[in-house]
């Protein structure tokens, strides 16, 4: 999806950076499209990576049951443009902590990214509204409550 969307975006000063393992053919496509590919990363690298990202992009084409990646973006204070599909659709509040986009609608994706580029106040507002995700300890407390019943 992102390889279809990014060439249509009115990029201006915008850049797309991709972090994570990839097959060689996708690395070449990133190069061809002017996308910065950074390769695999470890958990300890997350703060550095997240500090470099203004807006996360998650064009999931399958329904996620939760999404740890979304939690990591939110932990780093990064709003996310994500598919309105599965758990991403539950957890992203459009205009609050990100934007939700129909997962298979290329033009809607282009519009959402263009809006985020052109509207600095929207970016700032979404960033301010990103709440911390639950920690493992908080999750454990929820389960402890359930066991206590």
């Amino acid at each position: 999806m992102i390889f279809k969307v990014w060439p249509l975006v009115a990029k201006g000063a915008a850049e797309l950076h991709i972090y994570g393992a990839s097959d060689i053919q996708y690395i070449q496509r990133c190069k061809d499209l002017g996308i910065f590919y950074h390769g695999p990363y470890g958990e300890a690298d997350l703060p550095q990576i997240l500090s470099q990202i203004d807006v996360g992009v998650m064009p999931a084409q399958v329904q996620e049951t939760f999404s740890y990646t979304l939690s990591e973006f939110f932990a780093g204070g990064v709003p996310v443009i994500g598919s309105d599909y599965g758990a991403l659709g539950d957890r992203i509040e459009s205009g609050v902590n990100g934007l939700k986009v129909p997962h298979d609608d290329i033009q809607a994706w282009v519009q959402a990214i263009n809006l985020t580029i052109s509207d600095a106040s929207l970016r700032d507002r979404m960033k301010q509204n990103v709440r911390l995700p639950d920690s493992i300890e908080q999750m454990g407390a929820h389960y402890a409550e359930l066991y206590a019943k």
């Binding site: 992102i2 000063a13 915008a14 850049e15 797309l16 950076h17 991709i18 972090y19 994570g20 393992a21 990839s22 097959d23 996708y26 990363y41 997350l46 703060p47 550095q48 990576i49 997240l50 500090s51 470099q52 990202i53 203004d54 807006v55 996360g56 992009v57 998650m58 329904q63 996620e64 049951t65 939760f66 740890y68 990646t69 939690s71 990591e72 939110f74 932990a75 780093g76 204070g77 990064v78 443009i81 599965g86 758990a87 539950d90 957890r91 990214i113 985020t116 580029i117 970016r123 911390l132 995700p133 639950d134 920690s135 493992i136 300890e137 908080q138 999750m139 929820h142 359930l146 019943k149």
Partner: protein
């Protein structure tokens, strides 16, 4: 068979509302609680990311990012 096992469970938990909805589509009579997964040290990640972000050069660039595994 799965439905029988689920009905005998003391509690049922899904990690998101959408997953709970999917389960209810198959088993509408089940009571499913939603408890999201936790991650390690979100406060520490936020503090470290904010500190590093404050050192970023003000180059006016808007950086979009994907954290993802691309494979066939």
């Amino acid at each position: 068979m799965l439905g029988g096992s689920l009905r005998n469970a003391a509690a049922l938990v899904a990690p998101s509302a959408s997953t709970a909805r999917l389960m209810r589509e198959v088993y509408p009579d089940l009571d499913i609680k939603v408890i999201g997964h936790g991650i390690r040290g979100p406060e520490l990640i936020r503090q470290a990311a904010d500190k590093l972000r404050s050192k970023r050069p003000g180059d006016g660039k808007i950086r979009f990012g994907m954290i993802v595994t691309f494979c066939r």
